[in-house]
């Protein structure tokens, strides 16, 4: 059983690192957005893995999964807002580059 948990955590760490690096290096908001999602999913995976480790055989204890669903729900809301911002940015300018959007005004 232990290998399953630790393998899940390793995968989670890899996914998170990919997400962080992606956020750092990408300039396109949609790509940054996807990387953020990647990090969220990595976190979800950890939550589920820790639940498995913590409660072992108790199938009725699902705290980690509940947290994961919470994260998914909030991520959905975040996607709605984030995409709306990206769409409105697209409407304003032809090319979208987060480095160009460095001022709140004008």
């Amino acid at each position: 059983m232990i290998p399953l948990v630790s393998n899940s955590l390793i995968l989670s760490a890899v996914l998170f690192t990919i997400g962080v690096v992606g956020v750092m290096i990408h300039r396109h908001p949609v790509m940054i957005f996807m990387c953020v999602e990647l990090m969220l999913n990595a976190a979800n995976l950890s939550l589920v893995a820790f639940n498995k480790q913590h409660y072992a055989e108790n199938w009725h204890a699902v705290d980690g999964q509940v947290y994961a669903f919470m994260v998914i729900a909030i991520a959905a809301a975040e996607v709605a807002v984030g995409l709306a911002i990206i769409v409105s940015l697209f409407k304003r300018r032809a090319r979208v580059d987060v480095d160009e959007v460095n001022q709140l005004r004008n």
Partner: protein, 696 residues
Amino acid sequence: MLQYVWLTIAFPLVGALVNGLFGQRMSKKASGTLGSAMVFLSFLTALASYFSYKSWAAGSDSPYFELTLWPWIHVGQLQIDAALLIDPLSTTMMLLITGVGFLIHLYSTGYMSHDKGYSRFFVYLNLFIAMMLILVLGNNLALMFVGWEGVGLCSYLLIGFWYQDMYNAKCGMKAFVVNRIGDFGVLLGAFILFWNFNTLSFTELFGNFSSVMNSATIESWVPLAAALLLFLGATGKSAQLPLHIWLPDAMAGPTPVSALIHAATMVTAGVYMVCRLNPVFTAAPTAGFIIACVGAATAFIAATIALTQNDIKKVLAYSTVSQLGFMFLACGVGAYWVAMFHVLTHAFFKACLFLGSGSVIHAMHEEQDTRVMGGLAKYMPLTYWTFLISTLAIAGIVPLSGFFSKDEILWRVATWQTQFGSAPMILWFVAIATAFMTAFYMGRVFFKTFLGKPRWTKHYVEHHHHPHESPRSMTFPLVVLATLAAIGGFMGLPHFTHAPNFLEPWLAASTGGEEQLNIVGRIGLEEHGSAAHDDHGTAAHDDHGAAAGHAEDAAAHHEAFVSFGSTETTEIIFALVSVALAAFALLGLAMPLYTKRFGATEKLHTSLGPLYRLSLNKWYIDELYHYLIVIPGTALAYGCWRVFDMKFIDGIVNGVGNVLGWLGHGVRPFQTGFVRNYAMYLLLGAVVYLALSLLK
């Protein structure tokens, strides 16, 4: 009836309110009549109070009738009521203020008839009467101080009545500022009294005074400090050295104001206060000595200045300062009723003189310079005769009022019982010299104005034809005041006449009762063996009771420094000397100089050179103050502004702003606006946090 004495204050207050609120919409006649009528009603109330007080006092042990109107300030030990005190002193002042006040109101209806601020004038005047009555009727120092400040305010408002002219406004400010210096003395004096006697009420203070003083829980400097601080207030209000400078400039106000406030009533408030608090002053003989010296010095210096002034009102102003000096001289030597006597007679003749000068100024169309007057006697006979009577009265010619009061002061100075060696003699010589100068300068101003050849300016002759007598509303007060100035002295006839003296026993209840003699007795005990008392054989006090008796004896049998047989002969000779000097100054010096031999005055001026200029320039006291106080004060204020305010205060305020600005400038680069940078910071933060938690 005595319960209604507050009406004397209420009437003028109502007059001021109604005129103040509706005066603009009322006709001049209505607002003038209202103002005068209110003061007249106040006078009638005062008169009724006088008679009911007399009948009340006949059946009472205490001379003090207290009327508590309402509780005013009750905080801890401080218990102040809005209470009035009716006694001979306050009744006398009340009658004087409302009586002379009414005459001057009446006069103002004529004098101010062409003025735009007619109703405003009566508002201030009525308010002044009300405040002055609060001052003299208040039964505690706090209420007296309300009146004290109130009359100061009215004085300020009335000096600057024609405020469109900057000069008048400045004169008003000068009066106010100089008075404030004195007022702080009154406050400190009141604090000292409260601190030691636990009360501000006059009746409680007098009731406890001798027992507290005799129990010796009070340190000896207390009455001296209180007396001197209160006297500082008196020098401000009553224009004594060194705070006399405001009164001559107060002549910038309309002439009725000069007569009412700056001659007859307000400026005597200081004398009233000293008389009112006479136990405190009697308990501090050194303070009495200082007051006498200040009074004599003021009388002398002001008289020398009055000798050369050309403005008719300036002469009268310095004359007022000088006469107030006489009053304080009387207070200083402990002759409080004589001081009040001079307050009364001075109010009559000086109000008459001021109103007469107002009449002259009115006739000459706002000309105040006596150099371009002359020969007015035949154009305005009533003004001429009343002015003549008042001039003779102030000069001290028998039997007009000024003679009796001034002579009594001189006599009291000559027979002063004091530990200060030859002080009575020196003070008497200063006073008689002042009296001589008084006769001369009053003669000078009188002859220059009314006799001799007309010296009117060309402009005047072309525009106004000739001067005219004033309307009846102005001459009637003149006649009444001149009559009072003529006969007022019979209130207090000197001892040698053996005629009944009305004023002394009447005022003795307030200014020299048994209470006070006890204190005098105690002082006698303290100074046991002092030189002055040994000389007069009054120092041999064995016990306190005997001391009081001896003090009483001493009061009756003192002798002058020069004696011509009996006390009575000496008194008569002293009186004759002063009358002879006054008559010589008037008829022997002033009359020939200022009527026939006018050219001789120029020669006199050049031959007296520096002395003449010293007098003409008022001893350069204004200049002295300007260089000693005004300029350093301005420099200090400027320095404070440039150094303390601009560098220090502004430095703190600007420094806080600058430091925050630099801080903002320092951290601003972190806020790039690039999302990746923010993500970097997040990451770095997370890594640092993880590293720290792992290392632990």
